[in-house]
Symmetry: none
Subunit: 124 residues, 4 copies
């Protein structure tokens, strides 16, 4: 389910975080569902255990998952009701938008892009 791009400059653990959040947001993992174990994930993704561990650790810090030592990692109750996550995403988006503006993209072009992205699956 999770696909890692080893050539991307985005850190591997960030890619894992993103994709797991996506799976949760899509409802493929429900609250209190157990995620695959760290060891299983690391084998599937061909990554070191510590890299996966870091991803899950940060997801836990963000309130998306919780871990019970000796038992496993689980999806939190209000996994994505979290404000922090949205703020984070908004901040990153703003940075990208400012950069785009500096490089000559017009407001209209951005709006067209926005429409395109939000077309596929209506989200609001």
């Amino acid at each position: 389910m999770i696909i890692i791009d080893f050539h991307s400059r985005v850190p591997l653990y960030e890619q894992i975080k993103e994709q797991i959040m996506l799976l949760v947001q899509q409802g493929l993992y429900q609250p209190n569902d157990q995620l695959p174990s760290i060891r299983v994930l690391s084998k599937q993704l061909r990554l070191n255990v510590n890299t996966v561990k870091r991803a899950l650790g940060e997801l836990e810090e963000m309130g998306v998952t919780y871990s019970l030592p000796g038992r496993g990692v689980f999806v939190s109750e209000n996994a994505l009701g979290n404000k922090k996550i949205k703020q984070d995403a908004a901040a990153k988006l703003k940075t990208a938008m400012q950069s785009a503006k500096a490089k000559g993209l017009s407001k209209q072009e951005v709006e067209t892009l926005t429409a395109a992205v939000f077309a596929g699956k209506p989200n609001s």
Copy 2:
């Protein structure tokens, strides 16, 4: 004219690049205008010369500026007509936007953000 945010996680040399491109984009620097010298810039911005050098070097590589050894650095004719630059920025923006959508940002929230970013100086 150029403002560096020392608290930002964006590399200093990237900030310089962004800001110079923005100034060009806004027409404050016209094609064939001379930019301040590296030494002047590094003093103004209180940055290491190497950092400024790297920024200008990459701008030249991108075709935004050209340098005449012994004379200085100048703005290229087609400084921002370069399609590749815009495409790159657009691609990154799209990724950030998709991620933001996945994390629950609504289309409206993105539009509000767009308006905010493009508020300063109308651009389109």
Copy 3:
């Protein structure tokens, strides 16, 4: 009577220990009273037998209970007269309190918390 919080980071066997000590402390179990058998407890709490076994084993080691092989587990005479246990708890509490103070909690906030914790059943 015993409630296990599966979401808590406190080990399950520690939770069992705590709760049994609390019941004894509150006088609901008198010295020489028999505790429910390990099997009964593990079914009630939906826990692995080994987890319950460990909890009772440690209680016995602490002198809170004693077991008569083939008969069951019983509350000791001087179950909580044991000074070492209290001292241990007091030391940990002190550490946590100092840390809380260092992080800006006021004396009043701690007192409010104390009142809340000791609210359920008056104890002194």
Copy 4:
């Protein structure tokens, strides 16, 4: 300045976090002060670089510090105005207090302890 107890069961990175927060809270490190580099700290404390890195990473996550790659780690503006830190400490204190109650400490004993802890340097 920082003292690590290698025999404690508290994780080393937690000890580092605690002590740095303490130094900040005491005003020995002011906002925007630069902390010793990770490598220097790890040599001083005779710890692995990664352990120190983790401590500083979590402090950053908590908003106590911020790091500028290539430059160093610095104390945040409102390092300890942070609500999250207090909530964390309060939660830990509550757990310790419940445990103490279960082990027979009376409300009065806790209050005496509170008074003792908050005696040294008045904090509220």
